[in-house]
Amino acid sequence: MPVPMRTALVPFATLPLAACAGRQSALDPQGLQSDEILRTLFIFLIVAAVVWIAVVIVLCVSMLRRKRTADQPLALDAPFEQATGRVVFALGAATLVIVLGLSILSYAGQRTVFAKDERALTLKIIGHQWWWEVRYEDDSPDKSFVTANEIRIPTGQPVRVELESADVIHSFWVPSLTGKMDLITGQKNELQFTAKNAGVYRGQCAEFCGLQHAHMAFAVLALSPDEFGRWRDHENQSVSSPTNPLGKQGEQLFRGRGCALCHTIRGTLAGGQLGPDLTHVGSRTTVAAGTLPMSSATLAAWIADPQHIKPGNNMPRMPLQSDDLIAIVHYLEQLK
């Protein structure tokens, strides 16, 4: 996907994303791992198709061929029985050879898919009901930051995600990049993958995790390494206070109306830990973990009544005047 660069400072602001949630298909591999898996899948598919067609052909022939006429069920032809026994045995042996061959092939694919590269970029993903906390960690704390529901990675470089859960079991799955891995309470899992091409790849929770399991998606944005570096540097920074009055009003409301109890916006007094970090929420592509594309309208709709859009989620409905709503939305949108 071409990423037009408008200015050096905010190259990521103008990604044409709202119209497209990104690709989410095992048949559309954009990563080294998903490529390898699809190759294995195709081999299996061909073997399966051949076997199935052969069985159906034999079945049809056995129904259509001319039969002995007398109805004497026990009058069996001894040579035929013996020959049949040999054929059945041979086919059984062939089945054994095929499945052993496929097992080896599968294991080879597995080794490739799960190969580890120590130079990988590491980030930590923590599953919550029903959103994703994403932590970019670095040895120096000023280079570590937290975001949510969106992962940006460089193309061509291995990425290792460490997977943990804050509550129930979830599963991290970006089919266009690689297969899935569970986020298990009390256990640390990890997954490595490498995006071949720049683009937006949609991911979704694949382990049933409760009421809103269906609305627990995220986006992986694969950027060229340069772009990724710039994004990271920018994301690393705290936000500065809004300069326009509406934005200021929004910031005050964000604190005053309780939003800040659950959400963090770095560089402000908002430091809640229960909900997604909103520091650069304005630059994200979706609202409510992939439920809606990001826009003023969807953001407003979400804040106005989150329980309508994603019933049962942990964000309460706050009664807001429409002016206040507009101010909050404006404030959040400019948190690029």
């Binding site: 002995r68 069920p73 026990l74 499945v99 799960f114 079991i169 256990q187």
Partner: protein
Amino acid sequence: MSMVAEQHELRDDALNGLQLSTRVEGIWRTPSGFLGALMSVDHKIVGRRYIVTAFAFLLLGGLLAVLMRVQLARSENTFLSADKYNQLFTMHGSTMMFLFAVPVMEAFAVYLVPLMVGTRNLAFPRLNAFSYWMFLFGGCFLWISFAVNVGPDVGWFAYVPLASLQYTPTKRPDVWAQMITFTEVAALAVSVEIVVTVFKQRAPGMTLDRIPLFVWAMLVTAFLVMFAMPSIMVASTSLILDRLVNTRFYDSSSGGHPLLWQHLFWFFGHPEVYIIFIPGTGMVSAILATFARRPVVGYPVIILSLIATGFLSFGLWVHHMFVTGLPQLGAGLFTASSMLIAVPSGLQIFCWLATLWDGRPVYRTPLLFVIGFIVIFVLGGLSGVMVASVPIDTQVHDTYFVVAHFHYVLIGGAVFPLIGAVYYWFPKITGRMLSERLGRWNFWLAFVGFNVAFFPMHILGLIGMPRRVYTYTADMDWAHLNLLSSGGAAIFAFSFALLLVNVIQSLRSGTLAGDNPWDASTLEWATSSPPPPQNFDRIPVVKHRDPLWLDNASLPVVAGLSVERREVLLTSLAEAEPQIREASPEPSIWPLLTAIATTVFFIGSIFTPWAVLWGTPPMAVALIGWFWPAGSKEDEE
């Protein structure tokens, strides 16, 4: 002592013909009236109830599936709420697995095994009655809970910690877990009955290599139940304890581990698939022999395959856990063991194909369903080989691909043979034939509807649609295939409506069947349709694997059993040599009372641990009533 009693006891060698029939029927008859019905220990009456109840649950579970398909037919649909949908798919899975698939197979065994091995009742008939009541009460418990909005909503697999008290503080998971306990008690009881019946009550001369393949299949299934179900009992008990008295089995902050649940669940859950599938193969073998007009090719191969499948099924549970972060080599080995099961399954398929190849097929409805079975099941087996591969599974696990796969295996492998079996044995059970014309419609609608409903799901899974989502956004491109699938589901559902119509019509006005309408070879066809309470006036003697094909005019029998009290003939394990004329229990109300006491105990114990204290004495009393000799004839010798 027995010698004295024998002097004046009337035996069946002293009577003949109608006199004998009337006399034996008199002692084996279930008492009339409502109370009599509740006391019945006749395996045919209990089996019939079991079958009808299981099919009722099939209809309910199917209805849920239809509702889910309506919801998914288009994106962002609001037909069902998230909460309802989650209850629905949990209820659908739980109902189909625990209240339909396993019980219906055991139900057919309860009805058919004694007839096929030539005896008069199951071993432990009262246990059998108890088993049915437990199944019925457990099923009603689940569905009544659902009706009052306490239906489980954490999936039929109830993964912790989602199913723990912290994340699901309602009673819903408790209902699920205790329903498991009910149905497992029922299934375990039946499996012991089946094993003992097959081991000890076969007709004289029915050596191991003369046992009908259906009976072999049910024997292997019974063993699978005995070794798989304790695992889920431990699992469901520990889950209830975690939720009720704060044990920490699954609490990772206190040394527990969520994966322990998955191991326990799938150590049961994978054999469960074969507990459903192996009886299906038995039905296929029975139907195929009759309609291909020859014995199934490779009798020993099929038996060894069944046994091998049984053993292997305990060594591959981990393939349900490939994405939980297991050691790579271990996972790879489970790939191999999972694929290995293709060998015994394949051998059976080859034997059946060879049978059709050499046979002179008569294309009646049961055979159509068997042919449909082969086409569908082989496809499901092959997609099973695909999901057994770790790399492929990381993509398709928990997607609609897997949904497609296991419906191909379970509906193809078990439901198609089962519907074939309904057409095949309906005449024996009711005395009337099902309509062949409706049967053909039934088959073709089921076959087409099934494939239209489930084939597109393979593709849906590959293009990214996960399971257990109550809706999906419009930009996901899944709507068309989902709509197609929902259309297929409607056709498939309609085929079951036809079956129901056919059954109701035929019960009233179907052609009378006679003893052996299909000219089949096994012993259940040697008695009248429906069979009399005693099954056989005299116990048959078996001289061939296909006794009725060897001689369909006269039946060799043994004489010398009592006609004054219920007696069955026990024979030796391998050679089926007569050993004992054992008393068989009379009808009794105690199994029902025990089941009621147990139900109170089970339901009480999801609310308070004290139920263990006040729930036990009634159970103990009921059990003593059950086993205390009634001073009836069984005891007087």
